[in-house]
Amino acid sequence: EAGVAQSPRYKIIEKRQSVAFWCNPISGHATLYWYQQILGQGPKLLIQFQNNGVVDDSQLPKDRFSAERLKGVDSTLKIQPAKLEDSAVYLCASSPEWTGQTQYFGPGTRLLVL
């Protein structure tokens, strides 16, 4: 069974530029999560989708971050415009159950904003 796929693995941009990350969850997983992991910290949830609907985006900085999950499969996370403090690893996870007891994580995208 293929795992959660993410691309790109690394991205370097300058502040005020835009960037997008892509996630393909495990086949059949209805729930998808985006986490932000700043260096030296634990991951923090940005947004949770159940199929193509948003369940929790309370910690998403909506003035610059946006995410979508068209057709309830792949998802993209966008930052526009990026700030220095957005430098982090962005982790995508998926779960087969609504309750998300076991979340399976992708390898992450490391973003550096200069």
Binding site: T31, Y33, Y35, G40, Q41, G42, P43, K44, L45, Q48, V55, D56, S58, V89, L91, A93, S95, W98, T99, G100, Q101, T102, Q103, Y104, F105, G106, P107, G108, R110
Partner: protein
Amino acid sequence: AQTVTQSQPEMSVQEAETVTLSCTYDTSESDYYLFWYKQPPSRQMILVIRQEAYKQQNATENRFSVNFQKAAKSFSLKISDSQLGDAAMYFCAYRRSKETSGSRLTFGEGTQLTVNP
């Protein structure tokens, strides 16, 4: 709001010996889930072990076991017969049981485990 605290930023253990990683959490909920995740340098988060709060029996997975003390809100991870491949960052995580507002994981700050040969 729920919080998870890992008071040991770094730990080290000799190969084949036993090490215990500490985790405490704060919640007003009575039913929830607790997890230990492992994150090697490749950054892929891997589930190590899971504990349901309503279960009194401590979870075990091969060389990994937990000591769950619900009243003390403590959830430690014991790694027996440590192997070089166990070296990684370990995160303790909490998830509430009620799903009215999602199923997010709340993570601690992590403990970096070094295994010495």
